[in-house]
Amino acid sequence: MALLILRRAALMLATMLVVSALIFLLLEFDVDSVAVKVLGPFSTQEQRNIWLEVNGYTDPALTRYLRWLGSILQGDFGDSLRFRRPVGEVLWPRLANTGLLAAIVLSTMALLGLSLGVLAGVHEGRLLDRVVSVTSVVTTSIPEFASAVFLSAVFVFWLGWLPGTSGMAAGFDPWQLVLPVMVLVTYGFGYIARLTRASMAEVMRSNYVRTARLKGLSHWSVVMRHALRNALIAPYTVIVLQINWLLSGVIVVEFFFAYKGFGALLLEASLFQDIYMVQACAIIAVAVAVISQAISDIGYAVLNPRIRVG
């Protein structure tokens, strides 16, 4: 197990290193535009050149990359061109907001997906199974933007039950989280439900469950004690991997509901070409994804000792 964790850590490190180089290359391509952003559109080429030189942009790319990497490791992402403040100051609170949103979405989604999946899997082939299966296929086919538009049309404008934006401008308000969570859960739970259903159905058909039944154990105790644990291995890894998917999903939802989170920040930073912010966001997003991937792999190995992840 220690070896496995060590290998994962080494792989993570290597991945992050390459990712950071990629991000750096992609975004520092056009250094001149950085100067324009900082000095304003009315600056002269001469002023820009001086600024670039003073700030070390005339050094070779490798030198700049290493310097950039060094400062990131010390937690310094540079100053945001749009906010005119250190990137970290803006980024960390936004990330915490998204963390909150993601935690609620993930737990709701897992609860809903797992329970529906288990119910359907246990009753394979019956009406309940059909209903769950069809519902989950249909909901995963509705893009988030479509459900966002229509859920807000219904709940904000027609019924007037829910707040329409989630900026939390006047302090924290749990009601403002309802619509974003609803949209993300609608799109995401079906995948977990389908996977759990398939996994559950497979376990229910397996020999040891059959044996347990033959021993005369009641239906539900077989389900709870024998089937569930084995059936949850596959969905578990998927749920952890949903973190990666959520980092994508929050972009649309945060943009639409004006939630002050990480996804909206990344989108706005990209549109504004606030390159230090984009770099920081991309690095953070990848770090979160890589860590959750590692957790999922290690957890999988713990849950299922027969498999060793290579």
Binding site: R85, V90, S152
Partner: protein, 547 residues
């Protein structure tokens, strides 16, 4: 030259024109105000009702307004009313153009223009103090004007005033035309000596980068900045929110604000979030409504909708030094290929006025009515052929997605142009990136804000060499005519000059102008005393909120 409270002979001329019906009452009040007659006196002469004072505006309370909260540290380079709305009421202006489009003195007590309109004495209002207690003087005014005109400041004020305050040297640098162009006469008087006559000086003093800043703060604005206004900026975080709070001391020179606090909430780039925030009463008002959402506002019973016909527009402009647009015939063909009445219908729900391709709005006092430039596809084709493009031209217009009416208009325009053989591809860039390159692309669709006078818009956008001249239009005849218009007080003479300018724009100008638009905002009905300024300036000291 003996000086009188206002220039009597000019005033007499205006009165005569009013009597003879050459001047509308509104125009009369404007020009009278221009030469220093108080708007109240002039309104009485013209028989207009004075502005009603809202006595029933309650004191106290908070109003929340949805508006983009941007970086505001450099007021001299403000390019959006949103930015200036966060400094408005903290750092005031020398003059103020009201919702009625008439400019009145503000930090000035008044102004006096010489007969030849070349010497302007700006009378500083006595008794005004900065929030830190220091008296507001002519020196503060002089420092601000001088700074805004300096080339290294990079302010659009330079473009506005270039015609009468600046000279362009051989390297293309603009400097004050005379060392004594700005003089301090005494503690409360600043004199502007103009290179050539100009009537719109007071309007120019209300251009949004013209916030009067404390010289000690060296041109930087932010939370806690010193100012002369009734508010103080107490919080500002880009992309989130900003708060202006009523001054706690009683040192403000004018009528204190009704509201305790104005909160500006940034709801992001998504236009629908503005409406959603209004619908769920998370904000009490919005900076600017989208015309496409007007029907949605109407479905919300607690909202009051404010509308104003403005000098706001957007133009499809070309770079006049790039082929094929370097040929004036091509540019005219582009204008002839569109039907602006139809564009108004498709792009802006018929709310506004059709464009006439010269950037002078019917609401502008100096507007000269020309025969409407009708669509003529055959003539457009003929002109293109004459210019050597018998098979038409291909072009790519750069535009952005927000606000929605712009893209609608561009698409409708491209459809119409295609029928005349001008095949336009639409290149959409993200809004923030658009403004990085708006004045560099060969063909782009640029929105322009409201200006109280037509000559102001023309001076900002089409005078040779000014910072916001996005088309590179450099036409000596145009510059000469514009200078002449700015120097002519007599309305008829001035209209004649304007007619010539407008015709020149239609014949050779660098742009196609689809429409003039009405703007809208919606506020909760409990907000009282709100008036929509056509420039979208939010004067937070003029309205209040019922509990």
């Amino acid at each position: 030259m003996p000086r009188k409270p206002f220039s009597e002979s000019n005033y007499a001329l205006l009165r005569r024109q009013l009597a003879e019906g050459k001047l509308s009452r509104r125009e009369f009040v404007r020009y009278a105000a221009l030469i220093g007659v108080s708007a109240g006196v002039a309104a009485k002469t013209a028989g207009l009702p004075g502005r009603a004072r809202a006595e029933d505006i309650p004191m106290g309370g908070t109003v929340r307004i949805a508006m983009g909260v941007q970086d505001i540290s450099n007021p001299a380079q403000y390019d959006w009313p949103q930015k200036s709305n966060l400094a408005r009421g903290v750092c005031e202006f020398l003059t103020k153009t009201g919702p009625d489009n008439i400019t009145r003195p503000w930090l000035l007590e008044g102004w006096e223009a010489s007969e030849d309109l070349r010497t302007w004495d700006l009378k500083v209002r006595p008794g005004v103090t900065w929030r830190n207690g220091r008296a507001f003087t002519a020196e503060d005014v002089e420092w601000n004007i001088r700074r805004l005109l300096a080339p290294e400041t990079g302010s659009s004020v330079a473009g506005l005033m270039a015609g009468y305050m600046l000279n362009t040297d051989d390297d293309g640098r603009m400097t004050l035309w005379d060392a004594n162009a700005i003089e301090i006469v005494d503690d409360l008087t600043v004199r502007l000596n103009l290179r050539q006559p100009q009537i719109a000086v007071p309007e120019h003093l209300y251009h949004y980068p013209f916030h009067i800043l404390d010289p000690e703060e060296n041109g930087v604005y932010g939370v806690g900045s010193n100012g002369t206004g009734p508010f103080e900026l107490v919080e500002h975080s880009v992309g989130e929110r900003a708060i202006k709070r009523k001054r706690t001391d009683d040192g403000y020179w004018g009528r204190p604000a009704f509201l305790d606090e104005v909160v500006f909430v940034d709801v992001g780039e998504e236009a629908m979030a503005y409406t959603a925030a209004l619908a769920s009463q998370q904000v009490d008002g919005i900076y600017e409504g989208d015309v496409g959402q007007l029907d949605t506002y109407r479905t919300l019973p607690f909202l009051k909708i404010y509308e104003a016909l403005t000098g706001q527009t957007a133009v499809a402009r070309v770079k006049v030094d790039q082929a094929p647009f370097d040929d004036p015939r091509v540019r005219k063909a582009m204008r002839l290929s569109v039907d602006t009445r139809r564009l108004l219908e498709l792009g802006h729900f018929n709310l506004g006025a059709p464009g006439e391709h010269h950037h002078v709005a019917p609401m502008h006092p100096e507007y000269a009515e020309l025969p409407f430039m009708e669509r003529d596809v055959e003539a457009a084709r003929a002109l293109l052929a004459e210019a050597g493009h018998p098979n038409g031209i291909d072009a790519e217009i750069v535009t952005k997605r927000d606000p929605a009416w712009e893209l609608q208009t561009v698409q409708a325009m491209a459809q119409q142009m295609a029928e005349a053989g001008i095949r336009v591809n639409i290149n959409i860039v993200p809004t923030p990136q658009f403004w990085d390159n708006w004045d560099k692309v060969p063909f782009g669709f640029t929105s322009w804000g409201h200006r109280p006078l037509g000559v102001m818009a023309l001076g900002l956008a089409y005078r040779s060499g000014v910072p916001w001249n996005e088309s590179g239009f450099a036409n000596a005849r145009f510059d000469e005519l514009l200078n002449q218009a700015e120097a002519t007080l007599d309305v008829e003479e001035r209209r004649a000059v304007m007619a010539e300018i407008q015709t020149l724009m239609q014949e050779e100008g660098p742009m196609v102008q689809p429409l003039w638009r009405s703007t809208f905002v919606a506020y909760h009905e409990r907000v009282v005393g709100f008036e929509l300024n056509p420039g979208l300036y939010i004067h937070a000291d003029t309205f209040g909120v019922r509990a």
